[in-house]
């Protein structure tokens, strides 16, 4: 579904991603772990097409198409979703209005009939109930006055509503207490399916107890230094990133 080959990317003059290779197949959950500043969020932004993030080398194909020349909205319409680490406020714009505009943007691009308010509301209510969230949330302005936890849950709701093929979740667990992590995990699991894939970016192993990954990657200094099964996450947690960072440094100086 997603194939990344030798991806290099810079922000300004600084190269952040220094050659990423990654393959994600339908049905899989990939966890990407790494210390602060290792390039986790940059990878997410580059895949979603955020302005200012410049790809200097490498290729990315998504569902057989070259992803990199596509505009952010076209990537979204192709089925790529990014859950933001720091979701933004859009004052005065109601969440339901926002998501309806989004879903209809996606549907229109696929030649599907746009959803009217009633049809969309039914769809939205179903998702809100599924995630056991407060119905009132969707009548509020997007993230305006939301607590950190509410923002994160709101990202999960948006994912559920837009039903992406590939969900990239940038630290959906940061700043959440253990109950909230479990709730977020529940929402993420509900989205899993044989046709869909998830890339879960996290600093901590904790959420991976609830969203069990098929593959775990460790990203350090812009490179994936190790990949393995779910047990790798536990190892990383026990060891800490420091040792891996040193290993990466040695690898680089020798290579």
């Amino acid at each position: 579904m997603l194939e990344i080959r030798n991806l290099h990317a810079s922000v300004g003059e600084v190269e952040i991603l220094k050659g990423i290779d990654l393959q994600v197949k339908p049905g899989e959950v990939h966890a990407i772990m790494g210390p602060n500043g290792s390039g986790k969020s940059t990878l997410a932004y580059v895949l979603a097409g955020k302005p200012g993030y410049v790809v200097t080398a490498g290729e990315v194909t998504f569902l057989g198409k070259d992803l990199l020349p596509m505009k952010p909205e076209d990537r979204a319409r192709a089925g790529l979703f990014l859950s933001f680490q720091h979701p933004l406020e859009i004052p005065g714009v109601r969440l339901d209005q926002f998501l309806r505009a989004g879903i209809n943007g996606i549907r229109k691009s696929r030649g599907l009939e746009e959803l009217d308010v009633l049809k969309f509301d039914r769809h939205l209510v179903k998702k809100v109930q599924l995630l056991e969230m407060d119905q009132g949330l969707v009548r509020r302005s997007v993230n305006e006055g939301f607590s950190g936890g509410e923002r994160k849950r709101n990202e999960v709701l948006q994912m559920a509503v837009l039903e992406p093929t590939l969900a990239i979740l940038d630290e959906p667990d940061s700043g959440l207490d253990i109950d909230a992590v479990q709730e977020a995990a529940k929402g993420i699991n509900q989205q899993r399916g044989p046709e869909n894939a998830t890339i879960l970016i996290t600093h901590y192993q904790r959420i991976l107890n609830y969203v069990v990954p098929d593959v775990v990657h460790v990203l350090i200094n812009g490179r994936i230094v190790r990949s393995g099964g779910k047990e790798l996450a536990l190892e990383v947690e026990a060891q800490g990133y420091e040792e891996l960072q040193e290993a990466e440094a040695t690898l680089r100086s020798s290579g």
């Binding site: 979603a48 097409g49 955020k50 302005p51 200012g52 505009k71 952010p72 909205e73 990537r75 979204a76 319409r77 979703f81 990014l82 933001f84 979701p87 933004l88 859009i90 004052p91 005065g92 714009v93 209005q97 926002f98 998501l99 505009a101 989004g102 879903i103 209809n104 943007g105 996606i106 691009s109 302005s141 948006q158 837009l162």
Partner: protein
Amino acid sequence: MTGTNQYVKDVATRGYQYGFVTDVETDVAPRGLHEETVRFISAKKKETDWMLEWRLKAYRYFVSLLKKDQLPRWANVKYPPIDFQDIIYYAAPRPRKQLSSLQEVDPEILRTYEKLGIPLEEQKRLAGVAVDAVFDSVSVATTYKEELAKRGIIFCSMSEAIQQHPDLVQRYLGSVVPYTDNFYAALNSAVFSDGSFCYVPQGVRCPYELTTYFRINTEGSGQFERTLIVAEAGSYVSYLEGCSAPMFDTNQLHAAVVELVAMENAEIKYSTIQNWYPGDEQGKGGIYNFVTKRGKCLGKNSKISWTQVETGAAITWKYPSVILQGDNSVGEFYSVALTKGYQQADTGSKMTHMGRNTRSRIIAKTISAGHGSGTYRGLVRVMPTASNARNFTQCDSLLLGDQCGAHTTPYVEVRNNTAHLEHEAFTSRVSEEQLFYCNQRGLSPEAAQALIINGFCKEVFKQLPFEFAVEATRLLEANLEGVVG
């Protein structure tokens, strides 16, 4: 980002859609302003002596100001001197015969309204909307008059009111905005040609949104309409005006005066959607919108609420205000002002607290794009008699691009130490982060901009009657429409 720049460029250069000229024979006054001009207008209107006298007093006052060169120059707008002798002060479409119904209105005029998207026939049928349409200087047709008459509500053109209801006009005309108020109010008082008049009797709740559409059609003509609304004790009325003008290279002057009077427990809601021709890409042509709007909360517990959506005009100079005379009275001002191209707007509100426990609220949203310049200017004045007065002011600016400007100039005068005043202001840009967030959810950059701007204006739009809120949203979107490359 190239995307944003392209968008901003499109916004800045988008054409005006209402710039057609209707070919109707007009009955025009000779160019220029003289005592004869005033007499000509008064005669055309078959006015009584007191009206003519009033106009002449205003004319003489205006001439004295002009001689002393006392033009208002404090606003943050720039324009070349206006030659007041080069303006046509009266231009009426020449009726083929005396009009007795809408069917007899010149079909050309009706087609103009259709082009504007307000077919009168349609409007008549539209539940809850009564329309008075002012074309150049004359009120073309007033729908719903009979329905309103049953409830004792008078809704007609100002010319008709002067003839049919002279006592009411004489009592209230100039009672809120005297002809000595300011330069343009003096000019308007001398040469006003028409406008709307509305009188709501005691205890009556007007069941319709009363609507007037103004249009300037004749090149080189000015439009000087005069509107007066009186709400007797315990009554309620909601009034909306819409404005447009065709494209001419020359600037046209629009100097209107609106006066509102609210008695005890009465409420007046006055909404404006202004889309005058803003001038071309280089800033040539366009309407000078120099307007004095003021309401007086005369009775206890009365309320006056102004809502304006200003998207057009080359220059806007207006400060819808409320004099809070009655105890516990409430004044409100909600505004969205958009400037793009070379448009300039200096607008805001004045709230004068005189009665006890009077409250006022000012919410002003300024959007600037292209080379547009938007200034919020407001005055909150608390007189010694106004104990426990309260004001809340919020003025926010949104900038699109880096050639535009937004300015905030709030004034406060407090002469009673029990007053509570709050003021909030912020300036922002549509951030690239916000746009990216929207794009990531499947919205095009255009849709994202529109959504964000709409959100910015929401507090104001929700004050408008529903169908007009929709119209305002569309108008704003149309004005900010652009294809992102």
